[in-house]
């Protein structure tokens, strides 16, 4: 926040969020960070157990400048993190292969975000409900109005953690290969192969009553 309370358009960098390798690929502006976090369906959560790293994939969702993750009371990861452990949450969107003339310059197009911080458990009932609804809406926009909401027992059985978006960086590569000048004359194809994550045809649950129609938000799902 600035002294007048307004949010800056850009995250302030710290030593560990300053991208040193290929810094021209770095981004620190909120809109870029938000768009990557909001498009990604999963994140990878890193934490330290007995001095050693552990990386677990999970679902996340962003609300303003908070990132939420959730899971069962039985989850070792969430039980470790609820005590206020250091965490690194990384989100990566794969956009395509970059096929260069030299093996050395092969690359990938991607958009990634790295968030460092300390997660804290959401104990307030209202915030916990909001966080869980945010997660459902993040994954399937429109779904929370239809699905049966959490019971008290389900709420108690779920841990929600929040991580403030403060120490954050993004890294992005786009475009075609960058070959060594001498290699452009080689008779070798070069270019990009873009990729996207696409939904197939929805599969109704085997116990679904046939008169229940497929909702538009599933039929028209796009990421």
């Amino acid at each position: 926040m600035d002294s007048d309370g307004s949010k800056r358009a850009t995250f302030e960098t710290t030593d560990r969020t300053t991208v040193r390798r290929l810094p021209k690929r770095a981004a620190y502006d909120r809109q870029t960070v938000y768009s990557i976090l909001d498009e990604a369906l999963i994140c990878h959560v890193g934490f330290v157990v007995e001095g050693k790293p552990v990386v677990i994939p999970t679902i996340h969702a962003r609300l303003n400048d908070l990132l939420y993750v959730h899971g069962s009371q039985a989850s070792r990861m969430l039980r470790a993190l609820r005590e206020g452990a250091d965490v690194c949450v990384t989100v990566t969107l794969f956009d395509g292969l970059v096929i260069a003339r030299s093996a050395f310059h092969h690359s990938m197009n991607y958009r990634s975000v790295v968030v460092y911080g300390v997660a804290t458990e959401v104990s307030d009932r209202g915030e916990k409900l909001t966080a869980l609804e945010t997660i459902v809406e993040h994954v399937v926009p429109g779904r929370s109005a239809d699905a049966r909401g959490p019971s008290e027992a389900e709420l108690r059985g779920t841990i929600v953690l929040s991580l403030p978006l403060e120490e954050v960086s993004a890294k992005i590569r786009t475009g075609g290969p960058i070959d060594d000048e001498a290699d452009y004359s080689l008779p070798i194809w070069a270019g990009e192969l873009p990729f996207s994550l696409r939904p197939a045809v929805p599969i109704a649950d085997s116990r679904l009553s046939p008169e229940i129609a497929l909702p538009d938000y599933v039929a028209r799902y796009r990421r």
Copy 2:
């Protein structure tokens, strides 16, 4: 290895590779682990810097029971890991959304692998060349025969690390939602929305000579 030198079909579990949360989703057999590592285009590498976790996405490739990652001599990650640091490499394939009648039972279908161990730098020139070719072939099968191979300067500028596949587990979820029995009578659609990562039309490099044809391994690329 067994005492007769043959490889077991299954990775032996350790405390940290034993999946405790939903253990029926766990897999420890080599073929399952190999297939997930081989299909995934990126991994997330976790390591510890000054007691805190760092998670970075990168490209990997498997050769037998070794996992290779590579990067520039300028990479902070690779410079930290070449000294023999503990590492956790996690690979996740997202297969689809699981849309349950209750918010609580929403889930995802996925296949993930977690590898724990200590990475070591590949210093042998022959193994380094093999590892780099394995990485190119992992990403674009068929490409290494066409691309210009690494020069001595490129080889020197690249760090390759290998991580033995010893302490490994996989976790897989497939199929539709599992709702609470009472919720099956609710008038709410439920099912799966499968996803796949699909290539779009290749984009030739802007400096590509028009007489150079698109290779089959790009035109027919499937993951």
